[in-house]
Symmetry: C2
Subunit: 214 residues, 2 copies
């Protein structure tokens, strides 16, 4: 008997459809609908009177990404269980997704049987954490993690994006309408804050943390 409804949110339609098939093949679950991005999910939730029991959410999506969407949805509809389902296996994504309110984090490299277990778990227990994810969480709690939430100001974000272009600091200063010495200050502050020693470090940080997309 189909008792629980699932919504799938993934930027890649073919994958959404394929996963929908898979979900429908499970005893107790059925796909309610699929969405291409976070905005579409919000719209559908507003329109439909029937709320899903579970949302399977990818992270990498155009417009509204998985983390932002999770944050919004879990605030407005706390009864919906959101499970991350993504290829993104890095620490930051996991931490941020769980912080945003996800009830579990699944890699796309799991077996379909594990997906079913996760779905059942989240219904019966309210969460599902695999070993990999637990390890990251523990590492994080132990303070061994580098994800100590560094929050960057708008200005610093803009600066770091300029650094990723081939501009010199002098050129960046012009573009940002600041004195070159001020730019020196921005740089030094970021070096300290992000624990890097030069421009290259900044660029790598920006790319790893998706502040800049090559």
């Amino acid at each position: 008997m189909k008792t629980y409804s699932v919504v799938i949110v993934d930027g890649h339609v073919l994958l959404s459809q394929a996963i929908a098939h898979l979900v429908d093949s499970f005893e107790e679950f059925e796909t309610l609908y699929i969405c291409n991005n976070g905005q579409e999910l919000l719209d559908k939730l507003k329109q439909n009177s029937v709320l899903p029991d579970i949302v399977l959410m990818d992270i990498c999506m155009p417009e509204l990404n998985g983390i932002q969407t999770t944050q919004l949805v879990s605030e407005i509809y706390p009864r919906i269980n959101i499970l991350a389902l993504t290829a993104d296996e890095d620490e930051h994504s996991i931490i941020n997704m769980l912080r945003a309110g996800a009830k579990g984090y699944l890699f796309k490299s799991i077996e379909k049987s594990e997906l079913e277990i996760a779905l059942v778990d989240v219904i019966t227990q309210g969460y599902h954490h695999t070993k990999n994810v637990s390890d990251v969480l523990i590492k994080f709690l132990m303070g061994e993690s580098e994800s100590k939430k560094v929050n960057l100001k708008q200005q610093e974000l803009q600066f770091i994006r300029y650094v990723c272009s081939e501009m010199t600091y002098k050129e960046i200063a012009k573009s940002m309408y600041r004195s070159p010495k001020t730019i020196d200050g921005y740089r030094d502050a970021l070096f300290k804050k992000l624990q890097v020693k030069n421009k290259i470090g900044l660029v790598m940080y920006a790319i790893k943390h998706k502040l800049y997309t090559p």
Copy 2:
């Protein structure tokens, strides 16, 4: 009637399984087996006497990636039709995949009906090219593409990876057992060859072209 067999190669098991479901839902196609990476595909092809009609191949995979695998398989088993099926939409991947012998290039953002059309096409016509892919091909042939195959020497590859770390040229010189001045030469040569003006440009090139993974 199930007449044509399909093999799916994708680093993410859940996706392979989901797509397999989808393929099995099509009239004329059925999944023969799935593989987690290129090496596994080569092994299976060697072991089994029955060869698949079509291989759906992802690019991003551990060990042997999709492009390398396609090259090998299309040389040894020219009768197998390889279709790229990937989230990777950049020009380089498309060009390299087709150069390696793929009979078509599908984005994971297509509809499942399009997947079926592509499978039928590749059986009846021997290829399937969507508009997006054709556009890239034309652009490439017109010489407007930046993919003008710059081939880098082993030395230059190693150097460019060092540059992506936060090392100075002096440190790189030590690591590569070369004089700092020689390293200067490597750098200048690469600046010219890759049309960049500084270290940052090199780093961006390396990342865009997957010479270095952050």
